[in-house]
Symmetry: C4
């Protein structure tokens, strides 16, 4: 196993702790994957393993058809969806799937989250869109994720009656998108419980998005 794969397994293993910390997952219902740079491979959580028991060694390696290449355990039952995204979107280096409560509630109604918070404009550049209903087991979920996100600024999609898929340039960025998706899903839900949130002008959304993508954070990658 190459050093790159070993380190990526460690990173992806540790990133699952963020799903737990931010209450995005119950039991084993959520997974993170990361593309192996320069290879047609990605690493992903094994199926049905609890977050407490997850170790870097238990993270499995798959090819872009979702077939197991290395690892003792069966890959996540969502592996086909992750694989489809990596095949279709070469700039994506990380994918996350959760059933986080507030985002999944918007998904159960099939309703996009409107962009009424500056933090949403920053991270998502507009609304968080809804993808189609799709059954697990083939490429339908992956196709729905890609069809929704490829023409969208948002790195997260609410899959109807299901949950969230988020993408990023690496696994950490995809986890950040999943965390921020639930955060704004909750805040906009709470806002709407007692009335209508005020809209943000499109020009202001564009300006916030542009600035955040290009100025925020430290110059060196974190």
């Amino acid at each position: 196993m190459s050093t790159v794969v070993r380190k990526l397994r460690e990173t992806v293993c540790r990133l699952h702790e963020e799903l737990v910390r931010y209450n995005l997952v119950a039991w084993t219902a959520g997974n993170v994957s990361g593309r192996v740079p320069g290879e047609d491979l990605f690493v992903i959580k094994p199926s049905g393993v609890s977050y407490d028991e997850l170790t870097p060694e238990s993270i499995v390696v798959c090819d872009l058809d979702g077939e197991l290449v290395e690892g003792e355990l069966s890959p996540s039952s969502d592996t086909a969806a992750h694989a489809y995204v990596y095949r279709a979107m070469p700039h994506v280096g990380g994918v996350v799937h959760t059933h986080s409560t507030y985002a999944s509630a918007w998904a159960a109604r099939g309703e996009a989250i409107p962009c009424v918070l500056t933090a949403m404009a920053d991270e998502f550049g507009g609304e968080i869109p809804v993808g189609p209903f799709a059954l697990i087991g083939g490429d339908d979920i992956g196709k729905g994720v890609v069809a929704t996100l490829e023409n969208h600024r948002s790195p997260a999609v609410l899959m109807r009656n299901h949950g969230v898929f988020s993408i990023g340039r690496d696994a950490r960025a995809a986890v950040k998108a999943a965390v921020m998706c639930e955060d704004v899903a909750r805040t906009v839900h709470v806002a709407r419980q007692l009335g209508e949130p005020l809209p943000i002008a499109q020009a202001d959304i564009d300006s916030l998005y542009d600035r955040y993508q290009n100025v925020y954070g430290q110059r060196s990658p974190r």
Copy 2:
């Protein structure tokens, strides 16, 4: 005390930590039991003991009439209900009872949770049903649990004005059902606060349920 019983006490003691971790219980209001394989016995939490103080030794052993067979402390005040389930449902190896917030709120209205999430179709195979109002102290709660669950895919029942009982092939599976029951009770509640969730077609529910029960997770039991 046999090795089997000792190990089961450890397992059941530790599983109570999951009730705490997932915020399913306040103070001492929730309990886990597990059937001793091949014997007419089960182990269960003692009554009124806080989760911090729970040790494998404090877990008590009862027969299927709910009578104390081994242990220093009085068994849970819900012991009669657990015992009734073990007597009536031979395939059940674990029972959990909680007053978890969102599930109990559906129970207070006497309303079943509709199956509008793929995760619900996976774990519950349809709606989570409501059982009758029943007083503690005799077999009424146990009868209500069994009458509701014996003709149902769902491993969890919302007992009216009371809380949740869940079952499983072992104690861990029953705890998982209790955790997932609260998770979907919360998500569907949140979804319905701002409108009507979209339905999932019965054929899709059947397909998801079948797949999850037969394909998900690792081949070896976890």
Copy 3:
């Protein structure tokens, strides 16, 4: 300082951790006191000290007029209310005050929590009542607490626009009442968000209350 007072300070100090664990308090807004058995004294949290910094030694001793008898720090600004309860209700051995979210929300509307959960019948024997609006600084809060609770089964009262006071035979029982008050305040709130909870017949409430007060838990005091 007597051994009894030293142990009571330890107990009351540690019980504040339960307020934190169950999310009943923000910053320093909540306090526990306990009567010194057989003496006209009680111990209580010092004012404005964070829960992390609380030590048994920092817990102060007051007489039943709320005057500081022993301790380096000023007593809680709610000391007069605690003292009034101890003077008026000789069977009370512990008092707790919090601004816990859901209970305080009922209090802000001046609305009693209806008894629609068996766990409420067990612990509170009926609804959780509302006490009057009262300003801090004299005996008004204490009078309102006592006037409301002295003719009531409930060990907790929702003080209008303010928060919760709970009582018990000792400090631990009062903390349990505060924890259960917030738990049922939340569950009944959530239930009512989507419709009307079903009522429980008065005879069933009476039966549940009687059983819980006399049968639940272990025979020896815990």
Copy 4:
């Protein structure tokens, strides 16, 4: 680096843990700053650094124009707003910014939080007001914060479609205001979900505010 600055960096670093503990922040979205006493300088969180990685050494020092004076990392992207507050309000020694859920929900609707809790009267002396919509990147946010707070008892302002800015005599007081702002935003939200909270008479609000600002806590500063 002076001892004063070193200690302030430690204090401000540690205060970020309170933002995490009280769930006021997701990922890196929230920051604390503190004025260096007697100098035209303040210390603030670096941009895009996670709370786990924050160390006293990573906290940066800026002048009152928001320019970096000392430190390896880029200052928070909210630095201009903090700097504007320090320039305009000489009595302010600490500033906090968060997107805490319930406060941001009120901000998304552009609605002030009415003073219907005695704890709000204590800490805020009345309603928590709304400030204007303002884009990040210049002095607009700072101007909006100052224009709203300079004629107000409240140490916190809900910036429209954005989040909370709070101020205090030092960084700890500003963090307390941010914590209490979210706490009352949540409680009043929950109260209003099921009806209208009862008002508190202005004279009572005045009396509570006066007492809390002058009597609460220990005589020595904490």
